[in-house]
C-alpha cells in the first residue's frame, strides 16, 4: 500500500503515467462536454424558463374561453397593481429564506405597518409622511426582535417567528380596538394606486423596483453571495470567515422592513387599515416564494422568480374569476398550482430530493 516509492526510477515512471492519465482525462472531458452540451442547454432553458412558458400557456388557455377579458391590457394593468403588495411580501419572506431562516411573522408585520398608518394618520392626526416612516420602522423593530431571539438564544426561526407573528397580530387588534380604520390620507392612495403609468398603478413599479434591488444584491454583490453560502452551508460560511450572525440578523431586519413596505402599499391600495385581513397573505407569499425558487435561478430563492410566481398565480385566479368560478378557487389555485409546478420542476431536475 506504499504510495510513494522512494527509488527514482519508479517515481519517474509514476509521474510519467500520471501525466499521461491527466492528458487522457482532459481529452475525455472535452469530448464529453461537446456531446453533452446541447441536451443540457435545452434542459437548462426549460428549467429556467419553465414558469414563464407556463404563464404564457395559462393566458392562452384562459384566453380561449374569455378572449375579450384575457387579451385586454386593462385586466393586466389592474392585476399588476393590486397584487403588488403580495410581490413585496414574498420578497420579504424570501430574504431570510435565502439565509436559511423562516419568517412566519411577515404577514403580521405587514398588518401592523398598515394599522400603524391608520392609527397615526387618522386617529392621531399625524402627517402621512412621518406615519409611513414610523410604520416602516416598526418592521425593522420586529425583524430585530426575531433576530435577537433566533440568534442569541439559538431557537429555530420557525418557532420564534410563529410566536412573534401571533404576538404582533395581538398588537394589531389592541391598537385598533378590533375596528377597521378608514379615511387614510388620499396622498398615499394617490401615489400607490390612483396614479398610473402606462395604465398600471404605481404600486407595481414600486414592487418591480424592489425586486430589481434585491435581485442585484443577491446576484451582484459579495454580501449576496455570502448570504447564499450562509443559507446553503452555514458551517462552510462560518469557517470561511463570514460573520454568519450579522448576516442572518441583517436578513431578519431587512425582511421586517420589506414586509412593512408591503403594509404601506396595502394601506394605500385600500385607503383603510383593517385588523385581520393581512394575515391571510402569509400562505400565498410562501407559495410564491417556493414556486419562484423553481425558475430563473432554479434551486435558489430568487427575486425575479418570486415576482413571476406571484403574477403567474394571480393571472390564473383572475382568469378563473372571469370564468365565473367562485372565490374558493383562489385557494385551490394557490395550493394546487404550487404543488403541480414544483412537481414538474422536480421531474425536469431528475427528482433529486429537495431539502
Amino acid at each position: 500500500m506504499n504510495m510513494t516509492p522512494s527509488d527514482p526510477a519508479t517515481r519517474a515512471r509514476e509521474e510519467e503515467l500520471t501525466k499521461r492519465i491527466a492528458a487522457l482525462e482532459a481529452k475525455l472531458s472535452a469530448i464529453e462536454s461537446t456531446r453533452a452540451a446541447p441536451l443540457k442547454d435545452w434542459k437548462t432553458v426549460l428549467e429556467r424558463g419553465g414558469l414563464v412558458m407556463a404563464w404564457g400557456l395559462l393566458i392562452l388557455i384562459l384566453g380561449a374561453f374569455r378572449p375579450e377579458q384575457m387579451f385586454a391590457w386593462n385586466s393586466y394593468a389592474t392585476m399588476l397593481g393590486s397584487n403588488a403588495m403580495i410581490v413585496v411580501l414574498t420578497l420579504a419572506l424570501m430574504i431570510p429564506l435565502v439565509a436559511g431562516d423562516f419568517d412566519l411573522s411577515v404577514a403580521a408585520t405587514m398588518g401592523l405597518s398598515s394599522m400603524l398608518i391608520g392609527v397615526l394618520n387618522v386617529k392621531m392626526g399625524l402627517d402621512i409622511g412621518p406615519a409611513v416612516l414610523l410604520a416602516v420602522a416598526s418592521g425593522a423593530v420586529i425583524g430585530a426582535a426575531n433576530a435577537f431571539f433566533t440568534l442569541y438564544f439559538g431557537i429555530h426561526s420557525l418557532i420564534v417567528t410563529l410566536g412573534s407573528g401571533y404576538f404582533v397580530a395581538g398588537l394589531i387588534l389592541w391598537a385598533s380596538n378590533s375596528n377597521t380604520i378608514a379615511g387614510i390620507s388620499m396622498d398615499l392612495v394617490n401615489v400607490v394606486i390612483l396614479t398610473r403609468f402606462l395604465g398600471v398603478p404605481l404600486a407595481f413599479y414600486y414592487a418591480a423596483a424592489l425586486t430589481g434591488v434585491i435581485w442585484y444584491v443577491f446576484q451582484y454583490t459579495s454580501m449576496g453571495r455570502r448570504l447564499l453560502f450562509v443559507g446553503l452551508g452555514r458551517e462552510v460560511a462560518k469557517l470561511s470567515g463570514v460573520d454568519v450572525f450579522r448576516l442572518r440578523a441583517g436578513a431578519f431586519i431587512a425582511s421586517g422592513i420589506v414586509a412593512a413596505i408591503a403594509g404601506v402599499l396595502y394601506t394605500g391600495m385600500r385607503g383603510a387599515a383593517d385588523p385581520s385581513s393581512a394575515l391571510a397573505f402569509l400562505l400565498p407569499a410562501f407559495a410564491a416564494a417556493f414556486l419562484g425558487s423553481t425558475t430563473i435561478y432554479p434551486g435558489r430563492f430568487n427575486a425575479p422568480g418570486a415576482i413571476i410566481a406571484v403574477y403567474f398565480l394571480s393571472t390564473g385566479i383572475m382568469g378563473l374569476n372571469f370564468l365565473g368560478v367562485d372565490s374558493f378557487v383562489q385557494n385551490l389555485f394557490y395550493g394546487g398550482g404550487l404543488i403541480l409546478a414544483v412537481s414538474v420542476s422536480q421531474l425536469i431536475r431528475g427528482r433529486k430530493p429537495m431539502d
Binding site: 504510495m3 510513494t4 500520471t18 482532459a26 459579495s222 469557517l239 470561511s240
Partner: protein
C-alpha cells in the same frame, strides 16, 4: 476460556476495490466462549472485514462463512445474521441520544412490533432487570444524551446481546457471536474494567465476542486470543496472555524494531511562524509547540488521541479551547478567537468534512473557490458570475482541477478534484498559517501528489506554515518536516529528520519509545 467448538469461521475472504486489494485471503476462527481481538492500524483491512461480514460489501468468490458449523451466504442480511446468531455493534453505536435508555434498549421491539398498548412501567422494570443481569446501574428513563461515551457503548453492547438472545433459534447449540467494532474509540484506562466485566458476562453464558480495536492495551486487557491484520493480510493469531506489547507492535508494523531511514526535508529558515501556548480542551492538552516559517508540521495519533482536534481549535471553528496562539507580534486568546478573526489574520482552516464544512456541494465550484476573495472580484457592475468563473477557471487550471468548469456544482467533481479546488481556495489568500485536517482523505493518488506539491510550493516560496492532522502516516512521512505524535490528548513524541518514517510514526502511535 477457549476450548469450545468453533463459533464463527471465516475462510479465504478476499475483497478488492478496483485494483486495490483490501483483504487478501483472510481466514479467521472464533471459538465458543472466547473473546477474540482483531487488531491492525488504519488501512489494515479491519473495517473491510467487518463490513463484509455485516453485508455491506460482497467478497470475491471463494469466500466462506460458517456459524456454528452452518454455512452462511455472503453477503447476508441483518435479520439472517441475527437468526443465525451473529450481531454487530458498529462504531457509531446506533443509539438515538434524544430518546431514553429504555427506548433505546427496546428499539428493535418498538420499531418492529405491532403493540397497541405499550406498557412503559413494565418496560422500565424489564430494562432494570436486564441491566441487573449485567451488573449495570442505568436509569431506564434517563435520556441517552446524559450518558458518558463509555456508558453508551455498554448500553449498545447490552442491546445487541439481548437482541441476539431473542432472535437466536436455538440457544444451547448456538449461543451467539457478538462483533464489537471499536465501540469505544477513546476509552479511558479506568473504564476498561467496565467493558471487560460486561464482555465477560456475555461470554460466561457461552457467547463469543470478536473485539475490533487499534488499541493494543485494550486488546491485551480484554481478549483471550487476537488476530493481527496488516495491509489486508492476516499476519498471525496469537494467545494474548503469551504476547507482550512489543510483540503486538512488530506484528502490526510488520518488522522487528530495527533500523529505519527517512527522506529528510530541509527548511530554509529558522523563523518561527506561530507559537501555541497551553492549548487545552476537555480531554486534550495542555499543549505547547511551535511551527516554523515554511514548515509543514504533522499531527499524528490513533483515533481519539486528540491530534485531529487541534486544527479546529486553533481557529475557533470548534469552541471550548483555552490557551494562546502567537504569530509574530499578534497574540490570540484561543477561548475567544473566531473563524472570522482567524481568516482576517490569514489563518486558514480546511476541515476534513469536504462537502459538509469545507465546501457547499450544491453551489458551483466558482462560487466555492471565490468565497474568500469576493471583494476583489467586484467590477463596475458589481459581482458578476462571469468574473467569478473567469477567475475560478484560472485558479482551477493552476491547481489542475479536472474538469475545469467553474459553473459545475462542487458535488459533481471527484473527491480529489474537489479537494484540489478547496486547497486552492485557501492558498490564493496567501495564508500565514494553514490548518489542515485529513487533506487527502478519499483522494486518488494523482490528486494527492498534486495537493502535496501545491503545499510544498506555498511553503517554500511564500513561507506559509502548515499544520496537518492526519491518520494517513504515509502522507505525514512524505509531506512533513516534523511530526508530533499524540496519545491520550498529549504530545507523546516528536519525530523529524531521518527518524521520520511511516513506521516510526506507527510505532510512536502504538506507544513504542525509541532512544535517539
Amino acid at each position: 476460556m477457549s476450548g469450545g467448538g468453533p463459533a464463527l469461521e471465516v475462510d479465504h475472504l478476499t475483497k478488492r476495490f478496483g485494483a486495490a486489494t483490501a483483504l487478501d485471503d483472510v481466514s479467521l476462527r472464533v471459538v465458543r466462549g472466547e473473546v477474540h481481538g482483531l487488531l491492525g492500524s488504519n488501512g489494515s483491512g479491519k473495517s473491510t472485514l467487518i463490513k463484509t461480514l455485516a453485508g455491506f460489501h460482497t467478497p470475491e468468490p471463494g469466500a466462506a462463512l460458517r456459524l456454528y458449523g452452518r454455512s452462511m451466504p455472503l453477503p447476508m442480511t441483518g435479520a439472517q445474521a441475527k437468526a443465525a446468531g451473529l450481531a454487530f455493534v458498529h462504531q457509531n453505536l446506533g443509539l438515538i441520544p434524544e430518546l431514553s435508555v429504555a427506548e433505546n434498549l427496546f428499539m428493535h421491539d418498538l420499531t418492529m412490533g405491532q403493540d397497541w398498548r405499550l406498557n412503559w412501567r413494565e418496560m422500565r422494570s424489564r430494562a432494570r432487570s436486564i441491566f441487573g443481569d449485567f451488573d449495570l446501574n442505568f436509569d431506564p428513563s434517563a435520556s441517552v444524551a446524559t450518558l458518558s461515551a463509555v456508558e453508551r457503548a455498554l448500553l449498545a453492547i447490552v442491546r445487541a446481546y439481548r437482541e441476539l438472545m431473542e432472535a437466536a433459534e436455538d440457544h444451547a447449540s448456538r449461543p451467539g457471536v457478538l462483533i464489537l467494532d471499536e465501540p469505544t474509540p477513546f476509552l479511558p484506562r479506568s473504564e476498561v474494567d467496565h467493558l471487560f466485566r460486561l464482555i465477560r458476562s456475555c461470554t460466561g453464558a457461552g457467547a463469543s465476542v470478536l473485539f475490533v480495536s487499534h488499541d493494543i492495551e485494550e486488546v491485551r486487557a480484554i481478549t483471550d486470543r487476537a488476530t493481527i491484520l496488516r495491509d489486508g493480510s492476516l499476519i498471525d493469531t496469537v494467545e494474548t496472555a503469551q504476547t507482550d506489547h512489543s510483540g503486538f507492535v512488530s506484528s502490526i508494523v510488520g518488522r522487528s524494531l530495527g533500523a529505519y531511514e527517512g527522506a529528510t526535508k530541509i527548511r530554509q529558515t529558522a523563523e518561527i511562524a506561530a507559537e501555541v501556548n497551553g492549548l487545552s480542551a476537555p480531554g486534550l492538552g495542555p499543549l505547547s509547540f511551535q511551527i516554523g516559517q515554511g514548515e509543514i508540521l504533522g499531527l499524528a495519533g490513533l483515533i481519539g488521541a486528540g491530534a485531529e482536534r487541534v486544527p479546529g481549535l486553533l481557529c475557533g471553528a470548534v469552541s471550548g479551547a483555552r490557551g494562546y496562539l502567537r504569530m509574530g507580534e499578534r497574540h490570540f486568546d484561543l477561548a475567544t478567537i473566531s473563524p472570522k478573526t482567524a481568516v482576517a489574520e490569514q489563518i486558514a482552516y480546511l476541515p476534513a468534512d469536504r462537502l459538509g464544512q469545507a465546501g457547499v456541494g450544491a453551489l458551483p465550484v466558482g462560487d466555492n473557490v471565490a468565497m474568500p476573495v469576493l471583494d476583489r472580484l467586484f467590477g463596475r457592475f458589481g459581482l458578476t458570475s462571469r468574473a467569478i468563473n473567469t477567475y475560478a477557471a484560472q485558479l482551477g487550471s493552476t491547481a489542475g482541477v479536472k474538469p475545469n468548469l467553474p459553473e459545475l456544482p462542487l458535488s459533481a467533481l471527484s473527491g480529489g478534484n474537489a479537494q484540489k479546488a478547496l486547497v486552492a481556495k485557501w492558498l490564493q489568500t496567501k495564508p500565514r498559517l494553514l490548518l489542515l485536517d485529513e487533506p487527502t482523505q478519499g483522494v486518488d493518488v494523482g490528486a494527492r501528489q498534486a495537493i502535496w506539491e501545491a503545499l510544498d510550493t506555498a511553503t517554500q516560496v511564500g513561507g506559509m506554515a502548515v499544520l496537518v492532522a492526519s491518520t494517513d502516516y504515509d502522507q505525514l512521512a512524505s509531506l512533513c518536516h516534523r511530526v508530533l505524535v499524540f496519545a491520550d490528548g498529549q504530545i507523546r513524541q516528536e519525530l523529524s529528520g531521518a527518524k521520520l518514517t511511516k513506521d516510526t510514526i506507527v510505532e510512536a502511535c502504538f506507544g513504542v519509545e525509541r532512544a535517539a
